[in-house]
Subunit: 461 residues, 2 copies
């Protein structure tokens, strides 16, 4: 390992737990939820195997009135759900990493296709994302019940082995709806002043801490209003920084890990076309200065030099990752072993999100094995040796698919792979696309394959 990167491998204490290093896969959707538990477990476990010290599952609704159908989420409504999700915790632990679960309620944003429950929100608001129906203004009975659901879900999460349990307050969902003066028009103790708007979130944090604080680290995810102001599907672009810093100070005793996001989905998970690596950095940095607890933020970082510099600068304590951890589950281990040219860099094309949202099954243009670890037994770094390695193979076209095919065959030990291409360079249509303004990161698809080709397919034409 390069000594400059050693800082990335320092352990970090979060509440009663210790992360083995600073690589942290933040919660993100996969399409597997609690309904495909072995697919979920294998998808997360490969990241732990690859060296991510903390690995989270996706958001987990605590109540049936936060039901995601027709999308898939990790419901934790009963013990059977919890057992299903526990497989992921177990699989993550097998590699020495900590497992996190993001407990969640979507409020006005829930489709509730399965439960057909009435949507709930701090006030009678419409959803930015769902058709057909206003949310009901929550009365104090509703508030107390959802807080009980949250505590019960937290106990279940702890009981099946999760180390980190979230009180999810970002991305325009129920907690953000309470925090937002736009969505929260209540006149009671849960609306009006910032302290009142924060009450639901603070009470829930306190209740979860009371229930499981000695056993698990309590994380919370917050959304700071960013530069773009793009509201996202939920209609709420985050809480303005000054207010957020006040809230951070109010909640700091209740929190073991701050997971800072910027804006709503279109900004937080922004494509490389519009958002450069690390665009969240200055917001996270300001939150970190307001708290005594560790901070994680994503940045689609793929450069270990930059990651180390971000840590040294004091912007964050942990390198958060969703997309880069999909593209290369083995990134931490490759850094630890000095194999930097092996890193599959995320392109920020957001095909992962498209696949997850449109088809309920995640995928990745850089890592073809993503999401197929269980069902097909695919692994991003190990490939079955060829039974007949001397059988010649002809591949016509050296675009992304042709080059990937050649690389995999090379790794499997095929000795006579003939990759033919009419153009003088590999890359197919990406040779052109990567030259367009702001699409340079798409070229990583080709760069990675070019390095691999040179290593595994010595002769091609």
């Amino acid at each position: 390992m390069d000594a400059r990167h050693a800082i990335l491998f320092e352990p970090v204490r979060i509440g009663p737990k210790t992360l083995p290093n600073r690589f942290y896969q933040v919660p993100h959707a996969s399409g597997f939820g609690s309904g495909k538990p072995r697919t979920q477990a294998a998808f997360r476990a490969v990241k732990a195997e690859g060296g991510w010290g903390g690995v989270c599952v996706e958001y987990a609704p605590v109540s049936p009135d936060s039901d995601d159908l027709p999308a898939i989420s990790a419901e934790i409504w009963d013990d059977l759900d919890a057992r299903a999700l526990g497989l992921a915790a177990e699989a993550i632990h097998a590699h020495g990493s900590l497992a996190g679960l993001e407990l969640y309620h979507g409020g006005a944003s829930c489709p509730n296709g399965n439960s057909r429950a009435v949507r709930l929100a701090p006030s009678q608001i419409t959803s930015g994302v769902q058709w057909a129906g206003l949310a009901k203004e929550m009365d104090t009975t509703d508030i107390a019940r959802i807080q009980r659901d949250w505590v019960q879900a937290a106990r279940r999460a702890r009981d099946v082995g999760f180390d980190i349990v979230y009180v999810y307050g970002a991305h325009g969902y129920l907690m953000t709806q309470f925090l937002s003066a736009h969505a929260n028009r209540r006149a009671d103790g849960y609306g009006g002043s910032l302290a009142n708007r924060g009450r639901f979130w603070l009470e829930t944090l306190a209740a979860v801490r009371d229930a499981i604080g000695g056993d698990c680290a309590i994380a919370t995810r917050i959304a700071v209003h960013g530069d773009s102001g793009v509201p996202g599907a939920e209609g709420l672009p985050g809480i303005h920084l000054d207010d957020m810093l006040t809230l951070v100070k109010m909640a700091d005793d209740l929190v073991d890990l701050w997971d800072v996001t910027v804006g709503s989905w279109p900004e937080d998970s922004g494509t490389s076309r519009y958002f450069p690596e690390g665009h969240e950095r200055r917001w996270a940095h300001q939150v970190r200065e307001a708290t005594a607890k560790p901070v994680v933020a994503v940045g689609r970082y793929s450069s270990p030099d930059l990651m180390a510099e971000v840590i040294r600068s004091g912007a964050v304590d942990l390198i958060g990752s969703a997309r880069q951890a999909i593209a290369d589950p083995f990134l931490p281990r490759k850094i630890a072993e000095g194999r930097l040219d092996e890193i599959r860099e995320c392109t920020g094309s957001n095909v992962c999100i498209l696949r997850e949202e449109a088809f309920n099954h995640i995928g990745c243009v850089q890592n073809a094995t993503a999401g197929e670890e269980y069902r097909r037994g695919w692994h991003p770094e190990s490939f079955r040796a060829a039974a007949d390695p001397n059988r010649p193979v002809l591949i016509v076209g050296a675009g992304p698919a042709g080059t990937e095919c050649a690389v995999v065959l090379g790794k499997r030990g095929f000795t006579a792979v003939h990759l033919v291409e009419a153009e003088p360079e590999i890359g197919g249509r990406l040779r052109w696309a990567r030259q367009l303004p702001t699409l340079g990161d798409w070229g990583r698809i080709i760069d990675w394959r070019a390095v691999q080709l040179a290593r595994h397919i010595p002769v091609w034409r």
Copy 2:
């Protein structure tokens, strides 16, 4: 029963089976698929109980490369799927009706979110409805394999008790893709001439008939190009009538029941705003003149006089229904018993389709019990007697919800229901909406409740 309606209650022979009457619930989606088998069974059974002589489930993909996720369909890929669907057949039989299953392959239109299988189509076409990816042109191995899948699915359908098995050829899916000169650009025996384009469909019909023809009625659903030419999500608005009539004659020996649709979804299931009752009639009539077999077509018919006239005219043999059978599962029985004022007429607002497509769970503005027969034990015609019938109830507002509430309370035996309304008439915003051009049918929501109110809530103000 009015003697004019007796014709609707004549039995109709279809292949080896006999429908007890002319009321036929055609296949339509519910969101229940094979994954919620008891919900599916109860939703269909209530229609059989209400007198529909034939009751079908929704489309049932025969192969994993026709996988509907993130939508839900009635996969019949293995014996466990078939057993799940068999519960519906059993529940339908319990009321003396015949059960139908619509075997299906979507071709280029399949999301394949679960299977991630490559889409297949007669030619390398794009889908009108799916993102990300061309379909692969099927080779003869693919064609033979899908036909084997179809036959295997047909055997499974028969073995779990279905009486009517479809070879689904409408709505822009795989068979229509073969039939269409636009989508089918093949140069082999499955493309080019009309006979060649029909080969896949005809071969599949023959193979299914060989396998189960003695045991089950073989139905096929076809799409005739209508007036609108709206292509629908699948990009294919149906086959022009002249070609379709030629195909009908070619296939007539292989078919026991012709299920005629017009155009693709936006026309076939058109809203009342754009399509009047019975707009499919003249197309169905022409198909009926070309065949020796019974014909069914939908028409969102709610008037028994019109239904009887449509039968007498020779346009169809069976009154097909999807939306009207959702709005009133007991329509046939009400006609048989002369209770015409009890019929809940479909509004054609297509909220059923919205609920099914957006939330994977069907619902209805006229029949609040639709889709909740199993989970909540709701029934469109029977209501639990009030435990405390003399308890007074105040309902504020006599719009659709307030009037529905009053009617249900009345049917439950509450004697002191006070429905108050500021306006001189009931109906809420629908009083205005129903007066808009082409939205008259929406007023059925109010008309039905007005009749019921008068019967069950004698005094209200």
